[in-house]
């Protein structure tokens, strides 16, 4: 039985020292509830992998869970700066972190390479940049088929990928749609996958549309039913982006004390996503809800 609680899934599959892929779809469907549970369980020395992950990386860095970040962009998409990231990178507060700078494309290729079972993928991206000089996983080499110079992007295999999806069955076969980012490769690159779903549905619902099954259940170690688990990031068809929440986070975390207050209020005190949502309030949740549904036309798999 793969269906479990967030607490159990993190306890079992995300030990300290893990390399964790989060935020594979970029701005939407960021697994905030999983990140918050990782913070509550006091995990340490994690390596975070993801193209951007918006303010989730900032929070986990601020909470002291992180030793290393391998990302293209770390901050607050609404406001630019992530103050915890900056404090850690500039002043080693609350601890020193190593930052391995990628571009979006090269991070996607690192995961694609692992997903393909290849040692690296070639690209022209980052030639001439200081990313190429400073990131040891990007290596220049002469092309074996012509006179060109290329960059080899070394495969990156996370210990665990945590992917938020719209719906899954209890075996982890998952439907996701909208912006996909690096989720498909990420789930194949990782040694283990944790699927966090807005809805758990009957296997027949998933099987009715196999093209939308972007994560097959046999790759999945745990499935969690966690409605609103991606708030304040959006989930297409379920809720919109809570822009104000990102702006409030920006204002409230300028100082270390401000961040600690924020963390107590939104992560430490609420013991579950349910308690977090009670604190957010029904009125605010309702405002973020879908105003007008727009269902795709059904695809006929008949024969």
């Amino acid at each position: 039985m793969k269906l479990t609680t967030m607490r159990e899934a993190i306890e079992r599959h995300v030990p300290s020292g893990s390399m964790v892929l989060l935020g594979a779809q970029l701005e939407p469907m960021i697994p905030f509830s999983a990140g918050h549970e990782i913070i509550r369980q006091g995990r340490r020395d994690l390596t975070l992998v993801g193209p951007i992950s918006d303010i989730l990386f900032d929070q986990m860095i601020g909470a002291g869970c992180v030793a290393r970040v391998m990302a293209a962009w770390v901050g607050n998409v609404s406001a630019g700066v992530g103050y915890c990231f900056r404090r850690a990178a500039e002043q080693s507060i609350p601890r020193r972190i190593e930052v391995v700078d990628y571009s979006n494309f090269t991070l996607a290729l690192a995961l694609h390479s692992a997903a393909m079972g290849a040692p690296f993928m070639p690209t022209y991206a980052t030639l001439g940049s200081d990313l190429l000089k400073k990131n040891g996983n990007l290596r220049e080499f002469p092309s074996p088929v012509n006179e060109e110079r290329l960059v080899a992007v070394r495969a990156l295999r996370p210990d665990v990928a945590i992917v938020h999806v719209q719906r899954a069955d209890s075996e982890g076969n998952a439907h996701l749609w909208g912006s996909l980012g690096v989720a498909v490769d990420g789930a194949r690159a990782a040694r283990k996958v944790i699927v966090v779903a807005e809805e758990i549905v009957e296997p027949a619902v998933i099987a009715s549309d196999p093209n939308r099954t972007l994560i097959p259940g046999f790759l999945v170690a745990a499935v969690i039913h966690e409605p609103w688990g991606a708030h304040p990031s959006p989930v297409q068809g379920y809720y919109g982006r809570d822009h104000a929440f990102f702006a409030e986070y920006h204002e409230e975390t300028r100082t270390l004390e401000g961040f600690e207050r924020w963390l107590t209020r939104w992560v430490v005190r609420p013991q579950s996503r349910h308690e977090y949502m009670s604190q957010l309030g029904e009125a605010r949740a309702e405002k973020l809800g879908v105003k007008e549904h727009a269902f795709a036309a059904p695809a006929d798999f008949g024969y």
């Binding site: 970029l26 293209a72 900056r86 930052v99 001439g128 940049s129 290329l150 909208g178 490769d185």
Partner: protein, 262 residues
Amino acid sequence: MAVRSETDLAARGFTLSELMIAAAAREINDGELVFVGMRLPMLAFLVARRTHAPAAIGLFENGVIRATPSPELLYTMADPPNLRAATECGQMLDVMGLLQQGRVHVGFLGAAEVDRFGNLNTTWGHRDRELRRLPGSGGACDIACLARRTVVLLVHDRSRLCERVSHITSPGYGSGNGWRRAQGLPDDSGPSAVITTLGVLRFRLDGEAYLASVHPGISVEEVLSNTGWTLRVSDELVETIPPDTEELRVMRELDPNHFWTR
């Protein structure tokens, strides 16, 4: 300085952001594939689509492709209105693949610092002589390496327009003549314009920036004294063409509360 020009522009019936968005929109030709960033470039793309470039196609690095403008103002490229009725919602590698093939005509970038040869830094910046960790590349390095043209938007001051960036997050023309080719970057790629709060810079064949236009009410001396190197000035220097009635109408319809165009 910025305040004076803002007041000056307000008297002319538009804001500085609106002027920059109109200038950015004109960098897009009809039918082109455009790597759209967020904030001002997003509005510039929508303005171009609704005015002179109705067949331009927008690519977003999360994998979304749109041939029609989103029905609502966006704060991020993955906001639900940008995905509904999109041309395609794919993977990041789908759009990055088009970029690497050389099929993307123009990409828009912001930056903390840009230098004489159009190199950008968004990794480690300087503020009050202290090193500041900035968010990083995102897709900027990829776009700067691989798009046929890149257009940069930023605030114009001496610390941001510097002689040489301390960290090349996104390569421009490096140190000039032939540098991109020597690095192995594709021919027919590189920065084409830097739209600042004071004017528009373009690049000569040797890769060095020059002042191509100044915004209304701004003097050449003001631009030069706010630039961290001796900026060359075009013999055919013009005034940046202000947004026309139609461009302003579209911008104000898309951003009625002036969230992006203050």
